[in-house]
């Protein structure tokens, strides 16, 4: 009763549609450039690892992955740690301006990055954070913090209020209750929120590119630059692309059981 006729076929076709372009990228990353340009082959006939080797040995390439991961992790940590208490407050209390504040936060999640690119550039240059991972991590907070608050609020609301009251009766102070009791209870929610912060910070390019020049350049920006400079090194570009997919795939694997719930932002 849950499903519709021909569901295996529909699902199969859709998965093929999703995987085919990715397969083509993987396929290309193992080909030599002459094979890519000269013939149309469905799998690499002369498989090579030269593109991957180049990325892992050339610092200007692999430092991009390190830079990206650096600001993504920083951003996730900042977002979750400021969002947790706020999520608790929104879930449990009513206070002056709470609804307006919630809407304001939500509206920031929707703000176009293009609007903020230039002012962020000015702001972070002025305070000397330009071209550091901190600049990108803080800039990404504008959409990740509201999202984290939104998701975590749903999960905190799922914890019965009696647990708070019992803990306070037992003499727990607020910080102790928060760390010892609440955080373990919503651990899966924190995982989901972290996943989303990671995801949106990892995929964003416009702000990350605008706020960095040399030292903190993300891998995504390095890809675009090198392509225009070296006249289309397709194999290298494909290999770099494949390597950007891997961290995401690993993260999905860890949270696969919570994905669906997290996508409904904890409030189904």
């Amino acid at each position: 009763m849950h499903s519709i006729p021909g569901r295996r076929l529909i699902m199969g076709l859709f998965l093929v549609f999703l995987l085919l372009p990715i397969y083509w990228l993987v396929n290309m990353s193992f080909k030599t450039n002459s094979e890519i340009v000269s013939t149309m082959t469905l799998w690499p006939h002369t498989p090579t690892l030269q593109h991957y080797k180049r990325i892992f040995t050339d610092e200007s390439w692999y430092s991009g992955y390190i830079n990206s991961l650096e600001y993504v992790v920083l951003n996730t940590v900042i977002s979750i740690s400021v969002a947790l208490p706020a999520a608790y407050a929104f879930s449990r209390y009513r206070f002056l301006g709470d609804k307006h504040l919630f809407f304001w936060l939500l509206s920031n999640r929707m703000a176009p990055a293009a609007v903020y690119a230039l002012p962020f550039f000015n702001l972070y240059s002025a305070i000397g954070l330009f071209d550091t991972p901190w600049a990108v991590a803080l800039a990404h907070c504008i959409f990740n913090v509201p999202l984290a608050v939104w998701i975590l609020e749903g999960f905190v609301s799922g914890v019965p209020r009696e647990i708070d009251e019992t803990a306070f009766l037992d003499g727990y102070s607020f910080p102790r209750f928060f760390i010892k009791i609440l955080v373990p209870l919503i651990a899966s929610g924190i995982g989901v929120a972290a996943f989303f912060c990671f995801m949106f910070s990892w995929v964003e390019l416009l702000l990350a590119r605008t706020l960095t020049s040399v030292h903190a350049k993300p891998i995504a920006a390095i890809m675009t630059r090198t392509v225009s400079a070296s006249g289309m090194d397709w194999g290298l570009l494909a290999a770099a692309g494949v390597l950007t997919i891997i961290p995401g795939a690993l993260v999905i694997w860890f949270v696969r059981n919570y994905i669906a719930r997290g996508f409904a932002l904890g409030r189904v």
Binding site: M1, H2, S3, P5, R7, R8, I10, M11, L15, L18, L20, P21, W24, M28, P85, A86, A89, R92, Y93, R94, L96, L101, F103, L105, L106, S107, N108, M110, A111, P112, A113, A114, V115, Y116, A117, L118, P119, N122, L123, L138, C141, I142, V145, W202, V203, L205, L206, M223, T224, W234, L237, I245, P247, G248, A249, N257, I259, A260, F263, V268
Partner: protein, 324 residues
């Protein structure tokens, strides 16, 4: 679940408030400042009042023409992808396997496009669609369809739309799947006993249960497609001509390309205002839906204790007895 009034809760919200204010309010102030001024370079600014805004909303000027054209294109794009992704997402969610390892496998593959950096999504489709080295472009041309997204406007549009469907349908599907998972089995059993058709089950049980997640899906998809930048920029660069130049691409061109601060700032503010209004409408609808649901939930238990599902056929039989 009545919340208690507690003004001290502000202390818990304060960190979020500070972080977001730092990265939202401060930059926005700069934008407002720029939008009212003109410059001859050299950091000399002078007052321009609402001049930029007038120019922006007047289609006869260069700036206004470009802005309104890109806005129109962007709205059309958002409508098209919503019209494709929402029904497709629902169908995919309904096609999810019920249990076993295939569920996890499908979830992972579905989520995969969402975690690919946006410029790599662009790169993937740029390569995939090329007539010389891409599978899609090669196959299409081989079967006699003249397809080239670099020079043909229609092909460029189709590529950008298919790319967005590829990229984001999973989000709608996963949201709907989450909504479907929350339907208790008893509902389906009751429907089966009543002999409801599959379509009736969808309309009476599944769709209402997905209401809320669908609202979130439409909101997220509309907003994200309305500020789309990276993917079309990588694939088409806004071309051929200006045919796939969306608002964000236009804005970045003016702000970082030409460094026209005043114009860019005015555009930003109008752009932001549109987003804010749409966001507010959705928020109001969503909050109202939440209140309705609560009211329903409070009145429901009396009407519908679960075991009565087994009793349902009895009233259905009674009229027959009457006939006999």
């Amino acid at each position: 679940m009545d919340k208690t009034v507690n003004q001290k809760a502000w202390f818990l919200v304060l960190p979020v408030f500070l972080v977001v204010a730092f990265s939202a309010v401060l930059p926005l102030m700069t934008v407002v400042n720029y939008s009212m001024q003109d410059t001859f370079g050299n950091n000399q600014f002078f007052w321009n009042g609402v001049g930029w805004f007038k120019e922006l909303l007047d289609p006869s000027t260069d700036l206004g023409g470009r802005f309104l054209a890109s806005l129109g294109r962007n709205l059309f794009f958002s409508m098209v992808i919503l019209a494709i992704e929402v029904p497709l997402g629902i169908v995919v969610a309904l096609s999810m396997p019920r249990e076993g390892w295939t569920v996890a496998a499908c979830l992972i593959i579905l989520a995969l496009p969402l975690l690919i950096p946006w410029n790599v999504v662009g790169t993937i489709w740029q390569i995939f669609g090329r007539p010389d080295i891409g599978l899609l472009g090669y196959v299409l041309n081989a079967i006699g369809i003249d397809y080239n997204y670099v020079s043909n406007e229609v092909d460029a549009w189709l590529t950008v739309i298919v790319m967005d469907v590829w990229h984001w349908t999973s989000l709608v599907a996963l949201l709907c799947y989450a909504g479907l998972k929350s339907i208790p089995d008893a509902y389906y059993q009751a429907a089966q006993i009543d002999g409801a058709s599959r379509w009736a089950v969808f309309k009476a049980i599944q769709l209402p249960k997905m209401n809320r997640v669908l609202l979130i899906a439409v909101l997220l998809r509309f907003m994200d497609s309305f500020m789309i930048y990276t993917e079309p920029f990588v694939v088409t660069g806004g071309g051929p001509g200006n045919s796939t130049t969306f608002v964000s691409i236009e804005l970045v061109k003016i702000a970082l390309g030409q460094f026209d601060l005043g114009k860019a700032a005015a555009l930003s503010l109008v752009y932001n205002l549109i987003i804010l209004i749409v966001c507010w409408i959705f928020y109001t609808v969503m909050t109202n839906a939440g209140v309705e649901r609560k009211v329903q939930a409070e009145s429901e238990p009396a009407v519908e204790p679960k075991p009565s599902a087994a009793l349902k056929p009895v009233p259905a039989l009674k009229p027959k007895e009457g006939v006999a």
